[in-house]
Symmetry: none
Subunit: 204 residues, 4 copies
DNA sequence: AATGAATGAGCCTTCATTCAT
DNA sequence: GATGAATGAAGGCTCATTCAT
């Protein structure tokens, strides 16, 4: 490989990186709109307007609406997972793990509930629209693995799938209530997850 | 109150009942279309065509699409709940309750998964569209009460909400897999709910 | 079959006829727009606006743009063919046939050139877009048969396909010139078709 | 005129030639895309991608899409005409001319039908879009002259326009059938042109 | 000289809703 | 009571063209 080829490759890489950066940037803006209105109620026009981009640009970077949405969801959920792993890493004892996990769940609901709705939205869409299925399936597997790691830290032997069903089921309940009921605050959320973690330990 | 007024009232009632019957009839047809395509992908035209009704009639009996949908969901979920209660009534011992509940869950997934998607669909919609909120909230309360009754039959003392989170979380997982993965069959579903009921008992 | 069935059938027929009439009406309006701008340059909005119809109505009667266009072309070309046959029927002697055919060609160019462009337009489109192929193929066969009938009246034995190639080739030339060149008038068109008919007779 | 001016002029010429060469190069690539999809269905992006050029370059060398297209068509048809003339030059006797012309027509359909569609496409476009008219008119005159020269070689006295109408009309038919009907092969094309040349001779 | 990011007007299509019959 | 014709706003998407680099 000579110098010229290297240079060309470098330039192509830089361009590709730049494009990826831009896509990420757009996705961040798009998520802001999607999170508020949901998948079905958010038009590309909405996304463009809300984030000061032109409609054409959205299609310049993303083949179609589906690609944009799945990109957003994937990006977002990956961030969430790595954040979660990052936090859980700090746990040494089972008690610490339990505490950190509890804090994280509460914190996510209280500061980020709106954002997580998007994930539930797309997941439900995938029940009717096959195009979302690969993305959703992948992400759900990743989430179960996360729960598995948390369970390990908590020294639980139970089936990760069951634990995930429990945690995810409760997460949705808390999210829904915290979002839609003004009287439902942090305290209630904390209580909800305290019960949940107790149940996790009971399951084993 | 005189005789005439009574007569008028009677007639109005008869009319109202007739109207209600018709609405119920329409709803049954509409559900058939909705369960296949989902809320967002089903137009009123689809519903009208699939059930041999005229487009105008839909708006004659229902103010708008929202009212039709919520009517359908309420009707459907109520039926489900009373069916579930009906079955659970037969249980005398905790073991019978456990067995019946297990069978019911499996049976519902295997024969009716497609239908239940609609419920998950609307529930998710309610996260973004307030008009669905009352319906969804009411129904979810009813479902938790059902789980409470099941728990009683199983002689479990645990918090119904936690049990509901677990069962509902697992139900969604099984539904999703059974619907989208051809290799995922009754056997897998049975195993899933066996784990779930074991967990319920562990929780207490 | 009882009276009721008959009544229902009658009503359905009437409705279907009414719909067909409306489609024909829309097609007539649409053709007016299409002949001016051509297929590629005419949007459904153009058609709707130019004929005082709403955009939605176009789609209420026609599945999509393709169906509308093919409907227009078929309808139009069929009219042309039956008109042509109607005129040629009057011919008794070969000389009369020759004269009538000549007059008809000239008349069509002079009064209807613009309209016939649409046919050439769609025929060319069919080279690139298969959806037009059935319509175009059918119509071209019908046109060759028409030329066959004319040839019979003129007592020519030559292959109808060759005669059609000649007449159609010249028709396009005359149409193009008459349409685009202001100095090219009826006299020139007449001369063109005189040469053509002489050639037809020469071919035999 | 002094030496300096000369030098500048020379340099300008060289530049202009270089630019012309580049335009020709681009045109060749563009034709490849146009030939497949047709004028209306080919975007500048398609052309750029298919030929590994940048989108901007297209506009750098050509004012707009129209100029690019007309340039392509002119270039292409000129090549075709000179090729045709080149072949016909070899004919000495009328029989040779006839044979060569027949072979050429068949060969063109069989190996190049797709390419010639473009010409028909633009010619039809010119019926609705005046910008194509000069190009189309010029080219059609040139084609009639070619037919004139062929007729001369075949020692036919008939009007070139009539002969062109016949040949061109049949060429289009053969092209359309050969392109769209898999059962229509070389044999059928040969028969078609045999009839056509017989007719030419009959016309005189 | 050459690139490709960005634009925005325009296209086809869908759909809840209205209304005359 | 019931129908379905008609509407028009909105949606996803395409594309020639411009412009900063």
């Amino acid at each position: 490989m000579n110098a010229l080829t290297n240079k060309l490759k470098e330039r192509a890489d830089r361009k590709s990186t730049k494009r990826e950066d831009k896509k990420r940037l757009i996705a961040e803006s798009a998520i802001k709109a999607l999170v508020v209105l949901g998948y079905a109620n958010t038009s590309l026009r909405d996304i463009a307007e809300q984030s000061g981009m032109s409609l054409g640009m959205l299609h310049y970077y993303f083949e179609d609406k589906i690609e944009l949405i799945t990109y957003c969801v994937t990006r977002y959920k990956e961030d969430f997972i790595s954040q979660l792993d990052g936090v859980m890493e700090q746990a040494v004892t089972p008690e610490q793990a339990e505490q950190l996990f509890h804090n994280l769940l509460v914190h996510t609901i209280v500061t980020d509930a709106a954002t997580h709705r998007l994930w539930f939205d797309i997941r439900t869409q995938s029940l009717f629209d096959e195009v979302f299925l690969p993305t959703v399936t992948d992400l759900e597997i990743a989430l179960i693995e996360v729960v598995q790691r948390v369970a390990n830290k908590m020294q639980l032997q139970a089936d990760a799938e069951v634990l995930y069903a429990l945690v995810n089921g409760m997460f949705r309940i808390q999210m829904q209530r915290y979002t839609s009921d003004d009287d439902y605050g942090r305290e209630q959320v904390e209580a909800g997850f305290t019960k949940t973690i107790a149940a996790m330990k009971a399951i084993g």
